[in-house]
Amino acid sequence: MIASSIIEEEAVERTVEDVVCTFCGCCCDDLIVSVKGNRIVDVRNACALGLSKFLHMNENRLLKPKIGRSTSAKDVSLSEAVDVVVDLLKNSCYPLFYGWACTSCEAILLGLDLAEALGGAVDNTSIVCHGPTILAGQELGLITATLGQIKNRADLIIYWGCNPVEAHPRHMARYSVYARGRFIEGRRMRKVVVVDVRRTPTARVADLFIEIKPGYDYEVLSALKMLVRDLDLEVDEVGGVAVSKLEELADMMVEARFGVLFFGTGLTMSRGKDKNVEAAIELVRYLNFKTKFVLIPMRGHFNVTGANEVFTWRTGYPVSVDFSQGYPRYLPGETTAVDILRRGECDLFFVVASDPVSHLPRRAVEHLNNIPVVALDPKITPTVYISDVAIPVAYTGIEVEGSVYRMDTVPLRAKKIVDPPQGILSDVDVLKMILERVGGRM
């Protein structure tokens, strides 16, 4: 033992280039990671958020499978844990599989296999971030582009209800405001507008900042739609914004050669949700009659976009799929994880790569006290803490490779940089073991 640790200390440093960052939906793919032995010691090009994920990934790590909740938990072997999970699954009539934000598309596909084999429901975390964007997309269709279009062409950039400076720190430099492309050579050739309910750090770089009353996005977008269509408004103020200011924005939009509306949870999760996004899409539709305009959601977690893509190609629906009748069904409010939990309908909750206890509404989480909870996660999260069985897995994009999608649906291969800790498998391997045992097809 001693000898091997000495070897590790003396190991030559190696670097891995063009690594895909696994933190947010930007999936920046230019990270340079330095590794000593099997330890990441430095990450260049990453933002503070990405850096911290790579450097602190072993803190609070779940290292052993466990059975039992919170204080009565005891460590078990992987095969014992899988036995228990398989038993629980076989005895359930309506299991709910949830999560899939921070794992690979390969794992997500296995999750769908599992849900189908057991006739359960399966949902991903986008219902609590950009689910409304998807619902609006089903109603009207998204008018979007990959980020390179913005980098190369956009002369008007609007950030609505999002704060990239803090949430997507490299977004502006790599893809939008400061990026240099074929037709646009950086900041001075672009105009930047920020619309938010408070003066965020992002607002500081804006040429025009519009502060709206919280919860009035829909009204402001309706007013803009009127202005862009050259229709008259009979009021002086909408959602706390003077109409003259909105006219200024409408003029900027119409005069842009290529405009983009980036929007975040400030729009999707405020009063009106998917209807807010529908209003934004309709505005952009009208703008396309006059100029070129697109909108791009600022997706949060790493591969949450990938979850939507995989769900869609396999089941036809991007979120909230129910297999209880033997084929995929979908109806928001019925098959959505939050509603299933709120009504207390599922008899097992299976979480992969996400922490619903921290981000789902309290009324939904309460039902988890009544049913068995299974979690697959690299870390000890609040969800792992309350789960009846927890199985540690490797980090996708650090310890195992896998397919992921950036916020603009550009696919990337996330790399394996270091080995996972002894005895810890990828979620793909664990899911395969479970699937095989419950009689799923491989």
Partner: protein
């Protein structure tokens, strides 16, 4: 014929009750009804494994189904029914009266989302409250309610009457955001308050609100003040502010908002 269905044990997981409708049961004898199959979670079960069934009244041409107990985890009660009646003595769950064409449904408790989804005819009466998307088409479709009437005594959620083309929805309690979203015809009457954005993107039809509204979308314009307005079955006394919209979609829908309940809308009177 009157048939009572009582769950043997309370439902813990979703149960799809769409096969138990007057249309399906018509012409069956009681043993056939017992052997009907329903989905309980992902498992197929015979009806008599799930319910105790009792024929309360042999007579009568019409089939009257009575569900006794808590059906808040049920799906599709009265799905596609065209005749007879269903009474739920308790709460009703999701998609009560979906694609309904005729007949009558009465729910004595609450119901969840999608009450009367894409309804075509018949009537639904809910004594408790209801969730969102009343009469609305399922996601992605734009064929909403085309006929029939829905009455809810309690409060309701968002987007009621979305894409509605004909028929009526009456709410005695208050309503969430977006009543009459993308409405194309028909009438919505709200006796209580509305959280706002009434008639968003409506093309045609009428939304009448007797309680407080809070605000009117900037894409609506005031037309007149009327002393009273025709409701679904009675004349409603106002006076009412009448707004036209949604102008951002070139709509010609009408929004009737009670003047006494909304003194702050007086500022619009200057345009008259």
């Amino acid at each position: 014929m009157r048939i009572l269905f009582k769950p043997i044990t309370p439902f813990k997981i979703p149960v799809d009750l769409s096969p138990i409708t007057p249309d399906n049961i018509d012409g069956m004898d009681i043993s056939e009804v017992r052997s009907l199959q329903v989905m309980v979670g992902s498992k197929r079960r015979r009806v008599d494994e799930v319910f105790s069934i009792e024929v309360a009244d042999e007579g009568g041409e019409e089939i009257d189904i009575v569900f006794m107990g808590d059906f808040s985890r049920a799906r599709g009660i009265g799905s596609k029914m065209s005749r007879g009646s269903i009474t739920v003595k308790g709460s009703g769950g999701v998609r009560v009266g979906e694609y309904m064409r005729g007949g009558r449904i009465v729910v004595e408790g609450d119901v969840d989302h999608w009450l009367g989804m894409a309804m075509r005819g018949g009537s639904i009466y809910v004594k408790g409250s209801a969730g969102s998307y009343i009469g609305a088409p399922p996601k992605g479709s734009s064929k909403g309610m085309r006929g029939g009437s829905i009455v809810v005594d309690g409060d309701v959620g968002e987007c009621i009457g979305a894409y509605m083309r004909d028929g009526s929805i009456e709410v005695r309690g208050s309503v969430g955001l977006f009543p009459g979203l993308r409405m194309l015809g028909g009438t919505i009457v709200v006796y209580g308050d509305c959280m706002g954005r009434a008639g968003a993107r409506m093309r045609d039809g009428r939304v009448i609100i007797l309680g407080r509204v809070g605000s009117v979308l900037p894409s609506f314009q005031i037309e007149e003040v009327r002393p009273s307005v025709r409701g679904v079955r009675e004349r409603l006394d106002g006076p009412f502010y009448v707004f036209q919209g949604d102008l951002s979609e070139d709509g010609r829908g009408r929004l009737f908002i009670s003047k006494p309940s909304n003194p702050e809308l007086e500022i619009f009177e200057k345009f008259l």
